[in-house]
């Protein structure tokens, strides 16, 4: 056989046979590639045809839009009663907060947005100032703004706080409080000092083992017992303490992951520079470890945000509890009242959690590529 071959003219690329690149071609490859796949597609389509129209009709088609009346909501076959949500919207956002003082939570919301957005964008400048404002100044200012009793502001006791405002307060305080605590616990767990290590391990494992609901029960029932006689602890504060301790244990494990992932060389380089433990930790170890676990911290925050709904069990009016309470409002009593409320609350929670989970995914990818050389 002739073993020598030299190509004279190069073959030019041509489009694949039978591929038109249009939607039909796409469907052929993604929906009908094999008989089994076609069957699955048909079954899936039937399932969607079964569930989507009723859902659509409930949410939009037959729904009573804001401005509608309760009679419309009570009509046979009426869908979601959005008019009820619109009417009680302020209650869902602010709870029993006095209506004339709504501007105070509004300022807090605005500050929150202004501070958190640049904090989440990695390329935004003034990170240190920003973090200082968010983690230290913002909580203090917000507290005095919301509670009042200073600078001539009317006092609003925490029993009147409620709705989305309280949901945000609990989750933000939880995360802001648990970050330093979590870092200390993580460092303690990594420590070579046996007593400190044991204490931290016990603390972390105990909180991680029990459900949040028992922690909240404990905080609301036992915290007053633990305090000196005559000292009362605000109900919201009890929940905040419980939530913070609880999430600090989870955060500690996230931070520990970051500490363990850090190459040994970083610790050694710090020691070689003659830095002491605290300087080494604060200047070299923590900045890198924390940066790498931002996705983990955000995921902890998502879990915490969802878990805040449990405070309704100990009688705090968070978003879920206001919705639950409003569903017995006889002025708006209708067959779809409860479902509409739950759908609204679910949507509010979903928007926040979904946005955060996307952010965490995005950060994860960003950090991933940042590490490849």
């Amino acid at each position: 056989m002739d073993n020598v071959y030299i190509r004279q003219d190069l073959v030019d690329a041509r489009p694949a046979p039978g591929r038109t690149g249009g939607p039909i071609d796409w469907a052929r490859h993604n929906l009908f590639s094999t008989p089994s796949n076609s069957l699955l597609t048909v079954l899936g389509a039937l399932l969607l045809m079964w569930i989507i129209p009723p859902i659509y009709n409930f949410l939009f088609g037959h729904a009573v839009m804001p401005g509608g009346t309760v009679e419309q909501c009570r009509a046979e076959g009426a869908g979601a009663c959005w008019a009820y949500i619109a009417a009680r919207f302020n209650f869902f956002i602010y709870g029993f907060y006095p209506m004339t003082e709504y501007w105070r939570p509004n300022i807090v919301f605005a500050m929150l947005a202004l501070l958190i957005i640049p904090l989440l964008i990695p390329s935004a400048p003034f990170k240190r100032t920003n973090a200082l404002l968010f983690f230290v100044v913002f909580p203090v200012v917000s507290y005095y703004l919301l509670a009042g009793d200073v600078f001539g502001l009317r006092h609003v006791p925490t029993e009147q706080w409620g709705g989305l405002m309280v949901t945000l307060i609990i989750s933000l305080v939880g995360i802001i409080g648990s970050i330093p605590l979590g870092i200390l616990l993580a460092l303690g767990r990594q420590s070579k000092l046996p007593i400190i290590k044991t204490l931290c391990v016990m603390f972390i494992e105990l909180w991680r083992a029990v459900p949040l609901i028992t922690v909240l029960f404990m905080a609301s029932i036992m915290l007053p017992l633990f305090m000196p006689q005559g000292m009362t602890v605000d109900k919201l504060l009890r929940a905040l303490v419980g939530v913070t301790l609880f999430s600090s244990a989870y955060l500690a494990e996230v931070v520990r992951g970051g500490l363990q992932a850090l190459p040994r060389g970083q610790y050694e380089a710090g020691a070689a520079l003659g830095l002491g433990y605290w300087k080494r930790t604060l200047l070299i170890v923590l900045p890198q470890a924390l940066k790498n676990v931002i996705p983990g911290i955000v995921n902890t925050f998502i879990a915490l945000f969802k878990d805040t709904s449990l405070v309704s069990i100990v009688g705090i009016f968070d978003l879920l509890n206001t919705v639950q309470a409003a569903s017995s409002d006889i002025n708006w009593a209708s067959p779809t009242q409860a479902v509409t409320g739950y759908v609204f609350a679910a949507f509010m929670f979903w928007i926040f959690c979904f946005a955060m989970s996307r952010y965490s995914l995005w950060m994860e990818r960003r950090l991933d590529t940042g590490h490849k050389r």
């Binding site: 069957l39 899936g44 309704s312």
Partner: protein
């Protein structure tokens, strides 16, 4: 402050405060003192508070009568039961809901996880939407939805929905038939257990023989052929009986059912076995799809549904035939049919020969309520629903991650060695994926168990509701009750991590 170990050498001793060992000890003593002081302060305060309220401590309350009702218990409960029995009732209810929830969540989660990796765009999208919706909504909200908006919104008892198999659903929950086994039935239960063990044993033994000698034992092969025909007959009977419900000509003539089943069974013994399977696939698809579709879309014409189901049945028949034709000859096949026959046949024989009887007490609607049957309270149903649906979304993500963690190269290597798809999955892909899936799966099971405590919010009498709620309220023994509750969950958690450590050490991939 890292502890360095060269301090014992002859190097000049630094000043005490700069000695790392001394510093370490000092720090620890300070921390320990602070912790002890803190606890001392708490205990002192608590003692003072309790004294001021004239309360005592101790666990003697456990042996006092509880005096309250529990709506749902696994053992007889009365107001005169003791508090420790209340604790036990709550614990058992927690475990019950956890076990059932874990069962459903696992099935749903694995299905969704695999669906999300499907090459079918639509199926993958549906799974993604499910996961992204469910896991971003608080579980408590979902429980409220299922309980208050779905189950509590069910019609009153008089207007109960009737589901197949004599199951009724109404405001008071799910009414299901209550099994009423007689005394002989215990032998059937024994037979079921024995035959399952037997089937597993035969399966393992046959596989071992197959590995050691290269082929399955001859009598297993022969028995399997007979079993194949018998199982085909049974499945055929089922298929054609069901078909009788939609095709009146068959329904009216039981002989036709038998003829169909016998034909399928006979085919399974010949080389036309794939055709027999295709017939079964056709009949099942036709029956199930047309029943489902007419239930789902009541406005569609019967003719359209019938034609659609027949077409789908034909497609399934084609797929089944192709798959069956690709199967190795029965000599090289795992004797599945034999094992099925053992598991079904032996108990059936015992049931028939001992004259055992399993009657079902069917719930019957009387004037005000149902009589007979077994009532599953709506709290229980809502909690099982909510927990399974919520946890399934997380399990699905673990499953997806586990499967994706097995590199494509593993499949390619197995392919290039000529391993068929089934062997490839069984021997190469699944064992590797399971290593990745099992640890997070266990922690999802633990999460589900912990989350079952949210049942307290919808009134399901689990541990937190019965004990941390009612018992604590009545006795005021806050410290004891909360400590006991926490101890239970701590035990669950420790057991789980013990299992995980054991599993990880067993399956850990050995690396250099």
């Amino acid at each position: 402050m890292a502890v360095l170990d060269h301090t014992t050498g002859s190097a000049p001793r630094p000043s005490l405060l700069n000695d790392p060992v001394f510093r370490g000890i000092l720090y620890q003593v300070l921390v320990a003192a602070a912790v002890i002081a803190f606890f001392g302060w708490i205990i002192l305060n608590t003692a003072q508070n309790l004294a001021a309220q004239n309360k005592t401590t101790g666990f003697d309350f456990l042996f006092r009568t509880a005096g309250f009702d529990i709506s749902f218990t696994l053992f007889p409960w009365s107001r005169s039961s003791f508090y420790w029995q209340a604790f036990l009732a709550g614990l058992l209810n927690t475990l019950l809901v956890a076990v059932i929830g874990i069962f459903f969540a696992t099935i749903l989660g694995f299905t969704l996880g695999i669906a999300r990796l499907s090459s079918n765009w639509l199926i993958a999208r549906v799974a993604t939407v499910y996961i992204e919706t469910i896991r971003n909504i608080p579980l408590l909200l979902q429980l409220f939805f299922w309980y208050f908006a779905v189950l509590k919104a069910m019609p009153a008892v008089r207007q109960s929905f009737e589901l197949p198999l004599d199951i009724f659903i109404n405001q008071r929950g799910l009414m299901v038939p209550r099994p009423m086994p007689d005394h002989e039935f215990i032998w059937v239960v024994v037979a079921i257990v024995v035959s399952i063990i037997l089937a597993i044993g035969i399966g393992i033994w046959a596989t071992r023989e197959r590995t050691a000698t290269g082929r399955y034992p001859r009598y297993v092969i022969n028995a399997s052929k007979v079993a194949d025909a018998a199982v085909s007959l049974l499945i055929g009977l089922l298929a054609f009986t069901l078909l009788g419900h939609i095709v009146t000509a068959i329904g009216a003539n039981p002989a036709l059912v038998w003829i169909g089943a016998v034909v399928v069974a006979a085919l399974s013994l010949t080389r036309f076995a794939p055709i027999g399977r295709a017939i079964l696939g056709f009949v099942f698809t036709w029956v199930i799809l047309s029943t489902l579709l007419s239930a789902m879309f009541s406005t569609w014409s019967t003719l359209a549904i019938g034609i659609g189901s027949v077409i789908a049945g034909a497609v399934v028949a084609w797929i089944v035939q192709e798959r069956a034709a690709d199967r190795p000859p029965s000599e090289a096949r795992f004797p599945t049919a034999l094992l099925i026959l053992i598991v079904i046949g032996i108990p059936a024989f015992i049931y028939w020969s001992t004259g055992a009887e399993l009657a079902f007490e069917v719930p019957v609607l009387e004037r005000f309520n149902f009589k007979g049957g077994f009532q599953l309270p709506p709290e229980f149903v809502a909690l099982v629903f909510g927990l399974s649906i919520y946890t399934a979304a997380f399990i699905a993500e673990n499953v997806r991650g586990g499967i994706r963690a097995v590199s494509k190269g593993q499949t390619e290597a197995a392919q290039s060695l000529g391993l068929k798809e089934g062997d490839r999955l069984r021997l190469v892909i699944v064992p590797q994926a399971m290593r990745v899936i099992v640890p997070p799966l266990t922690s999802q099971y633990l999460n589900l168990t912990k989350n079952s405590s949210l049942g307290a919010a919808i009134g399901y009498p689990e541990l937190v509701n019965v004990f941390t709620g009612t018992t604590l309220n009545q006795t005021g023994k806050a410290i004891e009750v909360i400590a006991m509750t926490m101890a239970v969950y701590l035990t669950f958690s420790l057991l789980t991590s013990a299992f995980m450590n054991w599993y990880n050490s067993r399956v850990a991939l050995v690396e250099r």
